[in-house]
């Protein structure tokens, strides 16, 4: 298992290199000059030249890339052009926030999506199935930002049950941390739950017509055990794939939700960086996100091995 993991990690290296080059080039191709942004009102050519020299923006591209990537490999993502803070520190601050949000969203998504998918597959063609599909379709169609605003209005403003925004680290006050994160996680989770429900339903429908499910019934097992053990276990592979991909997406894509609930997470970091033309931060964030995606895919592959004995080697 460890050898498999290491081998896959090695295979992932070229991918990461390609992504890093792409990320680096993309920034160079985009319009907008960070030096102008930094200099602000003062457009004195001498200042601009000094800044360019300081950030080595006059070097040939591959030298710039090399300088950057060797730093990254040593954990030095450079400093923010805007604030001068080390990017590694920024990422270190923001990433745990988003990871907490992502984990809590996944919790909601799994808790709602998987049971609903199983039930609607088992009750295919009935009113229950229809209702579950309507709910899922609404979940997919309702935009997060709308649901987020509505929930703030109802839960925070009207009922005054939960805080509307902000963030408390779990190390500081776990209860309060969970409370502030509850609404955004629910909003993010419902959208994912819908996708998860649809996937679970189709995976279960596929598995339920397999011969071994009939065998399980023929043994005399009760239906619940047939469905939850014999069928669900075999439906897990596509579900786990989706979970891994969704988690990767969450880390990168909680932008809107983080904006609405003013959560100082990864999404907010990247949005602010883009608005400020803070190239260095954008590069760092995108690279970390891409690495996260690759890692999640790797974990999904490892989960297959655990789930499917046919893939296991002795």
């Amino acid at each position: 298992m460890l050898r498999f993991f290491l081998r896959r990690l090695l295979v992932a290296i070229p991918t990461i290199i390609l992504i890093s080059i792409f990320v680096f080039m993309l920034q160079k191709l985009l319009p907008g000059d960070p030096v102008l942004a930094m200099a602000g009102e003062d457009r004195d050519p001498e200042t601009l030249a000094r800044l360019r020299a300081k950030y080595r923006l006059n070097d040939p591209l591959f030298v710039q890339y090399w300088t950057w990537i060797t730093g990254v490999l040593q954990g030095d993502f450079g400093n923010s052009i805007r604030t001068g803070e080390p990017i590694a520190k920024l990422i270190g601050q923001k990433l745990p926030v988003t990871l907490q949000l992502a984990a809590m969203s996944m919790f909601f998504a799994t808790l709602i999506g998987i049971p609903m998918g199983i039930i609607s597959a088992v009750k295919k063609g009935t009113k229950t199935d229809f209702a579950a599909n309507v709910v899922a379709l609404s979940g997919l169609s309702i935009p997060n930002f709308w649901l987020g605003i509505m929930m703030i209005l109802l839960v925070s403003v009207h009922w005054q049950l939960l805080p509307a925004s902000g963030y408390v680290p779990p190390t500081e006050d776990l209860g309060q941390s969970l409370r502030t994160m509850l609404m955004p996680a629910f909003v993010l989770g419902t959208g994912l739950a819908a996708a998860l429900m649809r996937h679970t339903r189709s995976a279960m429908l596929e598995v339920l017509r397999q011969d071994y499910v009939r065998t399980a019934r023929a043994k005399g097992l009760i239906e619940r055990r047939v469905v939850l053990k014999h069928a669900f276990r075999n439906a897990l592979t596509p579900i786990v794939t989706l979970l891994a991909l969704l988690f990767g997406e969450l880390v990168a894509g909680a932008v809107l939700t983080e904006q609405i609930f003013t959560i100082p997470g990864f999404g907010k970091l990247i949005v602010d960086a883009v608005f400020n033309r803070d190239y260095a931060v954008v590069q760092g964030v995108v690279l970390v996100t891409a690495f996260g995606f690759i890692l999640m895919n790797l974990l999904a592959d490892m989960a297959y091995m655990l789930l499917n004995p046919r893939l296991r080697k002795n």
Partner: protein, 328 residues
């Protein structure tokens, strides 16, 4: 005869339609089986053999199981086919089933030892693993102890069917339904599996319903035979009577279409025409369209006639002498 001392199973008037006004996929299916005997259900694909088996096991889809008509008596206990709850309690225990496809009938995600022991545990509770090991040894899996931890994909088709048999027999059932258990296997493995089933039958004194389209297999193992055509049992008799004195024109055609092993090679005999589609099933004898002896009267539903020695034939013209006369 259906209530003799050794009667194990008797099926009466089993019927099944796919919709309220739809045609009957199974119509008035009757047969009997004694303890320790083998009943072969024979017929072409789509004649209702497997539907009959699944009805008996209560394994039809819920939408279908509501439409099953008829009664059965099993080990002296009589119940209706619609009583799914009762069938559910019996299956896997006193009544079990072996399926056609050993490659897909075992769950790929679980070890075979666990799959067998689960069948024991859901009827008896603890002690499944010892029992599973014992069964694997009895069905002739070499090195059974380490094989317990194998997954289905690590076994050959024949081995998997042995595992299926071990699973079906783990609770000492009095009746096993085997739906084409050897069709998916190599010929050499086929005979091994048939022999294994025969041995197990003798040790456990169980009844077997063997569903097959292979008359060679029937000749080898059957005590009694039920010939099915288009959802009906057209002839039901002892194996001897079926082969030596077939009375229904369909049975006669079926036996004639098996090529002889010795003697001059001739063109194979075939039954002209094809099995009627369920939608085109109407009144009257379902075989009439392909029957060389069909007459006017065959447009009405044929009666089930009892010949000598509990030999049932669903034909207006039985016994056979009458048919030959009417054809002449």
């Amino acid at each position: 005869m259906s209530h003799s001392m050794s009667n194990l199973l008797s099926v009466k008037g089993l019927g099944l339609s796919f919709s309220e006004k739809g045609p009957d996929f199974l119509r008035d299916v009757n047969f009997d089986l004694n303890k320790g005997e083998t009943l072969c259900i024979v017929g072409e694909s789509g004649c209702g053999k497997s539907l009959t088996a699944l009805s008996l096991m209560g394994l039809l889809a819920p939408s279908l199981s509501r439409r099953v008509k008829g009664e059965l008596s099993f080990e002296g206990q009589s119940l209706r086919f619609q009583d799914q709850k009762k069938l559910q309690q019996m299956r896997g225990g006193r009544l079990s089933m072996i399926f056609q496809e050993p490659m897909t009938s075992l769950n790929p995600s679980f070890r075979i030892g666990d799959q067998i022991s689960e069948a024991w545990q859901c009827h008896h509770g603890a002690g499944g693993r010892e029992r599973a090991l014992e069964m694997l040894e009895r069905v002739g899996i070499p090195d059974a102890k380490s094989r317990m931890n194998d997954y289905p994909h690590q076994l050959s088709g024949g081995m998997r069917q042995r595992v299926m048999i071990a699973m079906a027999l783990v609770n000492n059932p009095s009746l096993v339904i085997a739906d084409e258990p050897t069709t998916a296997l190599d010929v050499t493995v086929q005979s091994q599996i048939l022999k294994l089933m025969n041995d197990m039958q003798k040790t456990l004194n169980m009844g077997i319903i063997l569903i097959t389209h292979d008359l060679g297999v029937v000749a080898q193992v059957a005590t009694r035979v039920a010939v099915m055509y288009a959802g009906e049992v057209v002839e039901h008799a002892s194996a001897e009577a079926i082969f030596n004195d077939p009375q229904h024109p369909y049975t006669i055609g079926l036996i004639a279409s098996v090529p002889p092993i010795s003697g001059p090679r001739e063109r194979l005999t075939v039954i002209p025409g094809r099995v009627p589609l369920p939608g085109s099933l109407g009144k009257g004898c379902r075989f009439a369209g392909r029957c060389p002896f069909a007459t006017e009267i065959c447009q009405t539903d044929p009666p089930v006639q009892l010949m000598e020695g509990s030999h049932f034939v669903r034909c207006h013209h039985a016994p056979i002498e009458n048919m030959k006369e009417s054809a002449a």
